[in-house]
């Protein structure tokens, strides 16, 4: 052991300065961390407020009747939004039946034909479509599915929502298919799989958990859409499950109740909004689980 070396004055001054600098850096770091954490909390604060407010105002009108009964005329108490809940579910089914196959197919094409001219333009246009105001989607569906038939319909509403899903689903599918290793594709080709079968049986199947997640996120997004339904599904005060008739939908019902002058309807609107947000919350949760399941089985190296 060498004897300890006593620091010179200069060295001591230097080390004190270093300590002060470190101290200052620690403080600045702490402040910045606090600011960023504040921003992060601020970002989710509106959701917490909305959810809290909905719970406070909507919970009281939420009862078994709300889910099972039809809306009552003004003046009568009670009643529920059974038709709107069923209507929203029907619209989601129509939208998925139209939007998912087209979206997944388009996404698979975009991933498999990455550099082709058609793929590049489709990719660009689908980004534009993704940013398109939803009411424009409603106008489109009205023009082609309402005007020619002369009446509003569930089908038109579902198609409008499905058209909104396509670009979202297409881009997630493209991403998920893109991360399937080339080696898997080659392994299938080397076994004598034709290209289309490789795409479906191996590539798409390997990416399926991610695609399911993307599809659920897309469904959660369109479930609460109102604008595309305004002049397509239109809403319905009566029980209807016909695809050819106007159909009730939760967001539409919430809207019409909220702008009504009646207190009873206002509280129903709050409850409707609460159910809607709970529905989206549940779908998002399922999507999270699907993602987690993928990572649980994906690792193994």
């Amino acid at each position: 052991m060498a004897p300890p070396i006593r620091p010179t004055l200069r060295q001591r001054a230097f080390s004190e300065r270093t300590v002060r600098t470190l101290e200052r850096r620690r403080i600045v770091s702490g402040i910045m961390l606090g600011v960023l954490a504040g921003a992060a909390v601020l970002a989710v604060l509106p959701l917490i407020f909305i959810f809290g407010h909905l719970l406070a105002t909507g919970m009281s009108s939420l009862s078994w009747d709300f889910f099972t009964k039809m809306p009552k005329p003004v003046g009568e108490s009670g009643g529920g939004l059974a038709n709107a809940i069923v209507g929203t579910l029907i619209l989601i089914v129509i939208a998925s039946a139209f939007g998912l196959p087209v979206g997944v197919g388009a996404g698979l094409y975009l991933a498999e034909q990455k550099g082709s001219k058609l793929a590049n333009s489709v990719r660009f246009l689908s980004d534009v479509l993704n940013g398109l105001p939803s009411i424009v989607m409603g106008i489109f569906a009205w023009q082609f599915l309402v005007r020619p038939f002369g009446h509003f319909s569930a089908l038109a509403g579902g198609i409008a929502l499905g058209a909104m899903m396509i670009p979202m689903v297409a881009r997630t599918t493209e991403e998920m298919v893109g991360i399937v290793p080339v080696s898997l594709r080659e392994a299938a080709l080397a076994l004598g799989y034709p290209r289309w079968r490789t795409s479906i049986a191996v590539v798409l199947r390997t990416a399926s958990a991610g695609i399911v997640t993307g599809a659920l996120v897309a469904i959660a997004r369109i479930a609460g859409e109102t604008a595309p339904l305004l002049f397509t599904a239109f809403g319905n005060l009566f029980w209807s499950t016909s695809l050819k008739q106007p159909i009730a939908a939760l967001p539409l019902q919430v809207f019409s109740y909220a702008i009504s002058p009646y207190d009873a309807w206002h509280s129903l609107a709050w409850a409707g909004a609460l159910v809607l947000i709970a529905l989206i919350f549940i779908i998002s949760l399922i999507a999270r689980f699907a993602t987690r399941a993928r990572f649980a089985t994906g690792g193994g190296d």
């Binding site: 290793p181 080696s183 898997l184 080659e186 392994a187 299938a188 080709l189 080397a190 076994l191 004598g192 799989y193 034709p194 079968r197 049986a201 191996v202 199947r205 390997t206 399926s208 089985t297 994906g298 193994g300 190296d301």
Partner: protein, 263 residues
Amino acid sequence: MTRSLVVPEIMPRVRVSALDAYFGSAHAVKGVSMRIVDRQVTAIIGPSGCGKSTFLRCLNRMHETVPTARVEGGVELDGRDIYARDVNAIAVRTHIGMVFQRPTPFPTMSIRDNVAAGLRVLGAARPSRAQTDEIVEKSLVRAALWNEVKDRLSTSAIGLSGGQQQRLCIARALATEPRVLLLDEPTASLDPLSTQAIEELVYALRRDTTIVIVTHNMQQAARISDSTAFFLNGELVEMDTTNDIFTAPRDARTEAYITGRFG
């Protein structure tokens, strides 16, 4: 060119004549001719980038699956040109199995389904369920994996170790009874023990299978192959019995490579 005739009196399983392979304008394999003898292990050695993997991928028409890739020349399997106009690349690949550098089990499929994957695309020749089970067992036994997985055939193939996954891929390739098995550096990503297991397996398989193995490991080539081809810069420098290549190479470049002076 007569030097490429290894054992002239035996009819070759695969005959390659003046094969050129390109990636765009890059000339990866240059005028290679070779005869690959039935029920032997043929090793292809050479430094990185010498075109040995590309050459291997030309033997089952996998090379052309890469964009801008191009092949010229002929490859005959049992006397039939696999690049002939009326020959379907997909059909060729069901007769020539391939295993890659990294294990490639299909992650969404069980061990059983992985082995049976190649049987599913046989069309009319597709075996029944009972037959499939039989073939799966037989292939896993041949790949020396049966004892380790027989109790977990329906579990995911991802749960296997790297060496087991590679043997699973060999079982998968064997299931369709290919005439030739191509191995592209099959032990490059494995630990020494797993490597040994694969080498023993290859050595045992040559009793009834024709095997072509690309390896950058010269000891491996010396241990398990009957004949060895040395590639350099896309050309076949020399091919002979493994014994002769490693003890009495005729080309100075071969000698320099196997004695470790480059590569």
